[in-house]
């Protein structure tokens, strides 16, 4: 069976009807016990398992997924990758993620199509230009590539935007990160799954965790729809349902669940290379390699576990896109969908101990979880393997809320994606 992906193998397989390819991952039966259980077969959970096996040599690992892997937010996002964050703590975390992304296709031997076509956040006024400058300076000091563009600089990269000075949100310039871009979201999930599987990790789909077994204040396993599975170290990467798991295990989180919508248009010939975000309209857009405009905006305003969106936000986001690029108003919307995201008070993730011994968290990524998949997995793997925070994850410990040490990227992230 053919296990290695390459142009040569693809050619050979083409000659024999692609019949020799091995399964991308196995579908094993769950064992009664593992060294580590990772709850949640999204990007973060699979990346956690991969790095546990790869970096820490912990291979007796199960990833439990209640449905199909990547069926949560990993497969529902708008695929943006970037590290244009303001605070040093966030910058270090997200930039490590981008760096991991940059080597991921070859490391995983799976083309995740990381496309660094650049990401710009528009500035619509002189005041926003000042804030953009502050942000660009912060990023440069933190060692992250970033540029301040003027109107002409924006025009060069995205000539189809609305440069009319009479626009409601005129374009004064933009903050630009050239290493920003997109990656194929499903490929990230499948690549990590295949990578983890090849290192011995059991990926168990259709296995819903129904209870967390806590004995004497420590976690000892989980009850699932496929029976009880034991482990004394458990990582939870269940964005959107973090509070549900917290309820099972008996801890509280500062999280609200909201629906975040995403949209795609009919496919068009290429007209837009970069990812563009307009803070004024609350809309961002990129064009996929397939030609569809992939776009989104802010959260729905109603706490929700229903994976579907609502008209008011659709009107804001789609109307905003039509203002950003007037010719798009005649382009057709193909579909829209929603994911459920964890929203923390400071829009920053929670990584680290849960309060129940042996149970560690990776949650609270809000609207930005996709871009953080590699680093989120890396950090959770580190703490599961060593019992200690990685330096980069320490500021994101749950205790920051008690200490008042919030990392509020509200100003830096503009809006959701």
């Amino acid at each position: 069976m053919n296990k290695t992906y390459s142009a040569l193998n693809l050619f050979r397989e083409g000659l024999r009807g692609q019949r020799g390819w091995a399964p991308a991952w196995r579908s094993p039966k769950p064992k009664p016990a593992y060294d580590v259980i990772v709850i949640g077969g999204g990007g973060h959970g699979l990346a956690t398992a991969y790095y546990l096996a790869k970096v820490h040599g912990v291979r007796n690992v199960a990833v439990l997924e209640k449905g199909w892997i990547g069926g949560g937010n990993s497969g529902r996002n708008t695929t943006v990758v970037r590290s244009d964050y303001y605070y040093p703590e966030s910058a270090a975390l997200y930039d490590m993620s981008v760096r991991l992304y940059e080597g991921l296709s070859r490391e995983l031997n799976y083309n995740i199509m990381l496309s660094q076509r650049g990401m710009m956040i528009l500035a619509h006024s002189e005041a926003e230009m000042e804030i953009a400058a502050r942000q660009v300076n912060a990023m440069q000091i933190n060692g992250i590539d970033s540029q301040l563009l003027d109107t002409e600089g924006v025009r060069k990269l995205a000539p189809i935007l609305n440069f009319d000075r009479g626009a409601r949100y005129p374009i004064h310039g933009a903050m630009y990160q050239g290493r920003g871009g997109t990656a194929r979201h499903d490929a990230v999930v499948w690549g990590f799954a295949r990578g983890a599987d090849r290192l011995g990790v059991d990926i168990i789909q259709n296995c819903e965790v129904t209870d967390v077994i806590v004995e004497g204040g420590r976690v000892t396993g989980v009850a699932t729809t496929r029976g009880e599975i034991r482990a004394d170290r458990i990582g939870a990467a269940v964005a959107g349902h973090s509070s549900v798991l917290a309820h099972m295990a008996g801890y509280r989180l500062p999280i609200h669940s909201y629906a975040l919508q995403a949209f795609v248009s009919e496919p068009l010939k290429p007209v837009l290379d970069t990812v563009v975000l307009s803070p004024g309209h609350g809309t961002y857009v990129s064009q996929s390699d397939k030609g569809g405009l992939v776009f989104g905006g802010g959260l729905d305003r109603i706490p929700s576990y229903g994976q579907r969106g609502n008209l008011p936000v659709q009107e804001t986001v789609i109307g905003g896109l039509s203002e950003m690029v007037p010719m798009f108003s005649k382009v057709k919307l193909l579909r829209h969908w929603a994911g459920i995201v964890d929203v923390t008070p400071d829009s920053s993730p929670i990584i680290g101990p849960s309060g129940v011994e042996g149970l560690y968290l990776n949650c609270g990524w809000g609207t930005g979880g996709f871009k953080a998949i590699p680093v989120g997995g890396y950090m959770l793997a580190h703490i599961l393997a060593t019992g200690r925070h990685h330096d980069l994850s320490r500021p994101f410990d749950l205790s920051r809320f008690t200490r008042g040490r919030l990392i509020d990227e509200g100003a830096a992230s503009g809006i959701a994606h």
Binding site: L10, A133, I141, G166, S322, F328, R335, R403, L406
Partner: protein
């Protein structure tokens, strides 16, 4: 021989000729035609190319189920991309071209790609293009992808009319079942809306020519329409119910003609009946994508609606009883029809761009057209949008609506009731909510699903070029969940949303895995049902109407005075007066410091808090102690959020024992009022506290500067400004209107805020300028005001504070340490972080007098080791008063660094400055009382 127009039949108007072009050739059609029907009537077979392999494609369906004929269409200079030919009504003068083909669909240069198909199977791109780097391959792949090009031009007047409406019953679908239901409900007194996406009602009635309830279809339809209207029901044709949302909301798109924006109906329906019919499924066999292979139902539609016979020598491949009347009709129309049973053997379509025949096992049938029917699939999309479940009907070999929300109904073919009379009975019963038992179905179908391992290239998703082999590959690689299958192969993700592909795809996966179809399940059905223009969501909320600015009463006066207007906190306000910013701002600052500045401060909040508990309430709301404020006096203070961070700053005046006036920031009025209401109703006695926002009743003109007192004295107000102490207020008159005079200063000079009812603003403005101009006063804008306050080290919340700033960072530490009473955010000011020594504090920065103005947004950095930001410049200007640059900054432990020299960085440049106190002008406050 291929399609041709019959001399009679159909719903078209043969008396008029419409001319159009397709792929550079001229054609004609008739009113009532679609682009597809007119081309089919003209004998055109190849109408498009597929997405990946550029295979030639002809029509499959006659309506929204066609995946193949996608055109860019231009009419009188307006072009729309990706128009489905089957649903685009023909208009005289249209110019259409097939997307994804060059120079045209018939002869596409990229057609040769098909030769490489064996290497371009599902997900091939995940397995290669990794060395040296994806970025090397991506640009050329991007160019290959996409369907139509968008021409870069918005269409003039392309604005969607959007409205809300409501009804008791929405009937989606105006076929036999929908019409019957709508009539029954309307006649029973319900308010009914019936919507159908065709311009003509009747649904599938025109496919056959059997009478319905004893009448010809057209006459029966006309009778129902008349009855519905007579009973007060509303009928919307060319209107697609494209989404069902929460709480009975339906979204409808009403087509208003080519290149005209559709109308959006946001219709709140107490009940919704899904009567959307059923679609013919393709049969999966070798080369089943050849032009000339068409759905049986599609051919019947072309015949019944458009008077077009799809072919002359027609083979029919069907597994169900639905085909018999259609075959009869085709024969009656003059076609030679050969029926074949797909069970005879694995079929294979023959021919290239034009079908030449079909091989079925050993039997070869010569034909120009092959009509296939793999069974009917109810159109259950809307049912699923609303959260209805689907049941698998083995008898009908289809998913049919199962349990659903109470307000959802389904009837007719959409409900799996394919026979006419039972469908009518079912629809009427559903509309009236009466019990109804569906009798035995006359519909017979022999399940016919894709056969794994069979030979040839068998298309499952036509538009996206997904074949049975791709499904087999996905299964082999363990992409077996229906969602993985969809995502890995892109099955069902094309612009037709898999209307023809999904059933075949999941049936193929079921067959490969040996599982029953319902166990494999379906993917999610998501709105919109068909792609809709984004304009539908856009409407009149465009241009200046997006988050519209609040407008000043005095805007005409400001414009007349030459103001450059700009957006400040949601208001359109004067930025400066004059043609050029720098000189104007300098002159305004100088006038304000030397004589007087006249400033329109109307947007400043004026929220009144009244009632017996008002004093205790505002004392709780404010960081500062307000309870001790005397009537007639004013205090500066902060409102915090419960997390201790600054929400707003401003002054509060006590007008009476039980009446306070809060002047919050202009942009925060609504937020402050909502916050006050929240606390009022939660934890306080709302019967003893009342909050009135009176902001827009008042216009406020601020006069500031050495001559301010003289100017105010010159107005006939009945109040003496000379006796008005700083931070007090009084009431006077302006003509016959009330006038409020407050002495507060945002500039460091004596200032008077004069407030009158807004309708008197123009008179007051004129009076102040008349009194002030001889003394050297002039209007000043926001930019000058910003400089004036920065000279004094006064902050603007949001500019000189960020999402971490607490009042003690700005030097206001006393309430935090001493205030006894509880106040919003109090405990949060005592956390580890709030007490940290390295908090960023407000400071001033001074550069050499001859130096340049520091850029706002520059960061202050530590010089030793790797650079680290310890703060940033929040406000920075050239001060005309001091004749040197000034700046404010937030700086770690800033108070302890006063006097230090610091390094700054801005866009790669290094700068330096000295840390000072924030106040650069008149720190002793002598000017205030001068």
């Amino acid at each position: 021989m291929s399609g041709r127009r019959l001399s009679q039949g159909g719903l078209i108007d043969r008396s008029r000729l419409l001319r159009f072009r397709f792929d550079g050739r001229d054609f004609t059609g008739h009113p009532g035609d679609t682009l597809a029907s007119a081309l089919l009537a003209s004998g055109v077979r190849v109408m498009g190319r597929s997405f990946k392999y550029h295979r030639p494609r002809g029509l499959w369906g006659a309506w929204f189920d066609d995946p193949n004929a996608v055109f860019n269409v231009r009419l009188r200079g307006d072009e729309l991309p990706n128009c489905p030919a089957t649903t685009t009504a023909l208009v005289d003068g249209m110019q259409a071209r097939a997307v994804n083909a060059w120079p045209n669909a018939e002869n596409d240069l990229k057609g040769g790609l098909d030769l490489f198909h064996r290497w371009l199977g599902a997900g091939f791109y995940y397995k290669t293009f990794m060395w040296p780097d994806w970025h090397l391959f991506e640009p050329s792949i991007r160019k290959m992808a996409g369907l139509g090009a968008v021409d870069g031009k918005a269409i003039d007047g392309y604005v969607a009319d959007q409205l809300h409406d409501d009804c008791d019953l929405l009937v989606a679908g105006g076929g036999a079942a929908g019409l019957a239901a709508a009539r029954a409900a309307a006649e029973a007194g319900y308010s009914v809306v019936l919507a159908d996406d065709h311009p003509t009602l009747g649904g599938s009635l025109y496919q056959g020519d059997e009478p319905i309830e004893g009448e010809e279809p057209q006459a029966w339809v006309a009778a129902q329409v008349a009855a519905i209207r007579a009973a007060g029901g509303r009928i919307l044709t060319s209107t697609t119910v494209f989404g069902l949302y929460d709480h009975g909301l339906a979204a409808l798109a009403e087509d208003r003609g080519f290149a005209r924006a559709p109308r959006l109906w946001r219709l709140r329906a107490r009940r919704t009946l899904v009567a959307t019919g059923a679609m013919d499924r393709p049969i999966t066999f070798a080369d089943n994508d050849r032009p000339g292979v068409m759905s049986l139902q599609g051919a019947a539609e072309f015949l019944g609606r458009y008077g077009v016979l799809a072919g002359q020598r027609i083979a029919v491949l069907s597994n169900n009883s639905h085909s018999a009347p259609i075959v009869a009709r085709l024969r009656a129309a003059g076609a030679e029809v050969i029926e074949a049973d797909p069970a005879e053997g694995a079929p294979r379509a023959l021919g290239g761009k034009r079908l030449s025949g079909v091989q079925i096992g050993a039997r070869k049938i010569d034909c120009d057209t092959l009509l296939v029917s793999g069974g009917l699939t109810p159109t259950v999309h809307l049912w699923r949008h609303a959260g209805g479940k689907l049941d698998w009907s083995a008898e009908k070999a289809a998913f049919v609506p199962g349990a659903g929300p109470d307000h959802m109904l389904a009837a007719g073919a959409a409900n799996g009731t394919f026979d006419l009379d039972p469908a009518l009975a079912e629809a009427r019963a559903a509309a009236l909510g009466t019990p109804h038992a569906t009798g035995a179905s006359g519909y017979r179908v022999r399940p016919l699903w894709p056969q794994p391992g069979s030979k040839g290239r068998q298309w499952i998703d036509f538009q996206h070029d997904v074949t049975l082999k791709d499904v087999e590959l996905a299964a082999r690689e363990n992409y077996v969940s229906v969602e993985h299958l969809k995502r890995y192969t892109t099955l069902g993700m094309a612009a037709d949303q898999g209307k023809t592909a999904n059933m075949a795809g999941l049936a193929a996966m079921a067959a490969i895995q040996g599982r029953p179809i319902p166990e494999v399940g379906t993917t999610t059905f998501r709105p919109p049902f068909v792609p809709v223009p984004m304009e539908l969501y856009h409407g009149t909320r465009r241009g200046q109407a997006v988050n519209p600015l609040k407008r000043l009463e005095l805007e005409p006066q400001h414009r007349a005075a030459g103001a450059a207007m700009g957006e400040y906190g949601g208001w359109l306000r004067p930025a400066w007066y004059g043609p050029e910013d720098q000189s104007a701002i300098t002159a305004e600052v100088q006038a304000a410091r030397q004589a007087a500045g006249v400033f329109d401060g109307s947007p400043l909040g004026k929220i009144e808090v009244m009632g017996p508990d008002a004093a205790a309430f505002v004392n709780f709301i404010y960081y500062n102690t307000i309870a001790t404020l005397e009537p007639g006096h004013i205090r500066y203070g902060f409102m915090l959020r419960e997390n201790g961070l600054i929400f707003d700053d401003g002054v509060i005046a006590r007008l009476a024992e039980d009446r306070f006036l809060i002047s919050c920031s202009s942009s925060h009025v609504a937020g402050v009022e909502a916050m006050l209401e929240s606390w009022r109703q939660d934890g306080n006695d709302p019967d003893r506290i009342f909050v009135h926002d009176t902001t827009q009743h008042w216009a406020t003109i601020t006069v500031t500067g050495p001559q301010a007192r003289a100017i105010v004295a010159a107005l006939d107000t009945g109040a003496d400004p000379a006796t008005l102490a700083h931070m007090t207020l009084t009431e006077g008159r302006f003509g016959d209107s009330p006038l409020r005079i407050a002495r507060v200063s945002f500039t460091g000079d004596a200032s008077f805020e004069l407030s009158v009812p807004a309708s008197r603003a123009a008179d007051l403005w004129q009076a102040v300028l008349a009194a002030g101009t001889p003394l050297g006063a002039r209007p000043i804008g926001l930019e000058a005001m910003s400089v004036l306050r920065a000279e004094k080290g006064f902050i603007m919340v949001g500019k000189d504070t960020d999402g971490e700033t607490m009042p003690h960072d700005l030097g206001f530490d006393v309430p935090r340490r001493k205030k006894k009473a509880a106040f919003v955010g109090d405990r949060a000011l005592q956390t580890e972080a709030a007490n940290a020594a390295d908090r960023r504090q407000l400071v001033g920065l001074r550069v050499a007098d001859s130096g340049t103005v520091l850029p706002t947004g520059a960061h202050i950095v530590t010089g030793d080791g790797p650079q680290r930001s310890i703060g940033f410049v929040t406000s920075s200007y050239f001060s005309p008063t001091l004749d040197r640059p000034i700046a404010l900054a937030l700086l770690e432990s800033g108070q302890q660094r006063i006097g230090d020299r610091v390094q700054l960085r801005h866009l790669g440049q290094s700068l330096s400055a000295t840390v000072t106190a924030p106040c650069a002008l008149d720190p002793e406050g002598e000017r205030l009382n001068a």
